[in-house]
């Protein structure tokens, strides 16, 4: 049971980092990233490939963050100046592009076979200790991104971010370039997404293109909306609740013994979908409320 709970806690933690990534981008400046999974994938492959080649895991995760933010820059320069909807479309396309590259560039990613043998940290420890230490690393990184989020919002920098959310034209009129801030925020958020991917790679020890489907992006979106858009606590609580429901729906099996495994997967998604519909009906501002009540 302990190892099951640890495993779930690690998944919750990784989803929290992914959701923080969205929360930074959408919550702080309204950037719509429908291709979050692309950065998650880039982080997973970057750290996976480097550590398989012998790099230390910490360095792999660091490089993953760098790769994530660098990859966001061209998208940022192209789309951030345009309306929010364009970035949504561009990122959606980018996610598909990354997945296809992972699928087809076999020399690098080993295609559908996937990249195995990715080192897991603390491997000389007994499994429970190993999982507990891994969880500690995840929690540490959550704390890092929470502190970064706080610094970005509660500061002169955050004042401009809030101004951009309120009225971008007026931000120009006070002599500040909104695009500069949005591109930076997009890059920081993308780094968080990549770190989540790297953690997942080191946790599972294996990456393959079929892990990087749109579902990952939308789990994080659901978590953010459920928790409360634009608030750090909302991202954390939303990720926790979504994962609780998603894992809890496993026990639907007991009350619905007649359906197949494949059907079960769909039923579980439907259960989470229903939760989100109910949440938006009865608590549209999210569990902790959105940024306007911060």
């Amino acid at each position: 049971m302990t190892s099951y709970l640890l495993a779930i806690a690690i998944q919750v933690g990784i989803l929290m980092i992914l959701t923080l990534s969205l929360s930074i981008q959408y919550g702080m400046t309204g950037l719509i990233n429908f291709g979050l999974v692309a950065f998650y994938a880039l982080g997973a492959y970057a750290s996976g490939l480097l550590t398989v080649a012998g790099w230390p895991i910490a360095a792999g995760i660091g490089v993953a963050a760098l790769v994530g933010s660098l990859a966001s820059l061209p998208l940022g320069f192209i789309a951030v100046r345009l309306k929010a909807e364009y970035l949504a479309i561009v990122t959606l396309g980018f996610a598909e592009l990354v997945r296809l590259v992972a699928l087809n560039e076999q020399w690098l990613t080993r295609g559908t076979t996937g990249l195995g043998g990715i080192p897991r940290p603390f491997q000389d420890q007994p499994p429970i200790v190993q999982a507990a230490l891994f969880l500690a690393v995840v929690v540490f990184l959550i704390v890092v991104f929470v502190l970064v989020s706080r610094r970005l919002t509660v500061s002169p920098y955050g004042r401009i971010l809030a101004s951009i959310r309120d009225n971008e034209a007026a931000v120009n009129a006070i002599g500040k370039n909104p695009s500069r801030f949005k591109i930076q925020i997009f890059a920081i958020g993308s780094a968080a997404g990549a770190v989540a991917g790297a953690l997942q790679a080191h946790y599972i020890g294996y990456v393959s293109p079929d892990q990087f489907v749109a579902h990952v992006t939308f789990m994080a979106w659901m978590a953010m909306i459920l928790g409360g858009t634009g608030r750090v606590s909302g991202a954390l609580i939303g990720a926790f609740v979504i994962m609780l429901f998603f894992e809890g729906s496993r026990f639907l099996r007991d009350v619905m013994p007649w359906i197949s495994e494949v059907e079960m997967a769909s039923v579980r998604l439907a259960a989470v979908g229903l939760l989100l519909i109910l949440a938006t009906l009865y608590r549209p501002q999210g569990i902790v409320g959105d940024y306007s009540s911060r």
Binding site: S155, P156, A162, A170, N172, A173, I174, Q184
Partner: protein, 252 residues
Amino acid sequence: MILSARDISVSFGGFTAVDGAGIDVAEGAVVGLVGPNGAGKSSLFGAITGYLPASGGTVSLDGVDISRLPAYGRVRRGLGRTFQVPREFTHLSVRDNLSAAVPEQSGETLLKLFGSPSAVRKDEARVRRKVDEVLEIVGLGHVQDLHGGSLSGGQRKLLELGRVLLTDPRVVLLDEPFGGVNPVMIERLSEVIKSLNDRGVAFLIVEHNLAALSRLVGRLYVMDRGKVIAEGAPADVLSLPAVQDAYLGTVA
């Protein structure tokens, strides 16, 4: 000339809103820009401030061509503007609205934000002092903790004026500062504009309230159908038949 716009044209599709209009504002002057609705005043404003792409013409600030600069770049050079409908930051406090406008803040760069918290703190003290000064000038000290969105129409205009002031402008373009503002507040706004002008800030003001405008400006431009049709002292310009025609339609 602190501000000089030459041969400005602005088109929307096939429609030419501004057709080769030019305007000069001398150092420290207060200049008015009037004309009937649809004359192209706001479009000319947009082209000068970089909010609308001009299809022709040049804008220079203190002799430097700023035509290719983006809107925020023009503000940094000293060309401030307000909006017809005030665009205060509704969810920010009045103080934060003003603080955001202070240029060159350490805490607005990632490097200093994460690398040098003490420099950021010190700079915030500077920002506070500058904002205190401006709160004094525009007289919004008593509402500094309220959200921008909760102010009255006139207070919003004052807030915008304060915000522009913090960008250290050489010339400020005011888009209908007295629109939808009660007479007492018009008086108050006029006083603030005058006191800023005494400190050397030049103004170009688009306004329909000719009585209030005439008390402020030394020169007046009149636009009609995208062109400047008259310029000069307010009293002279407003009595010209062509100007009266433009305003009232052709009088029999």
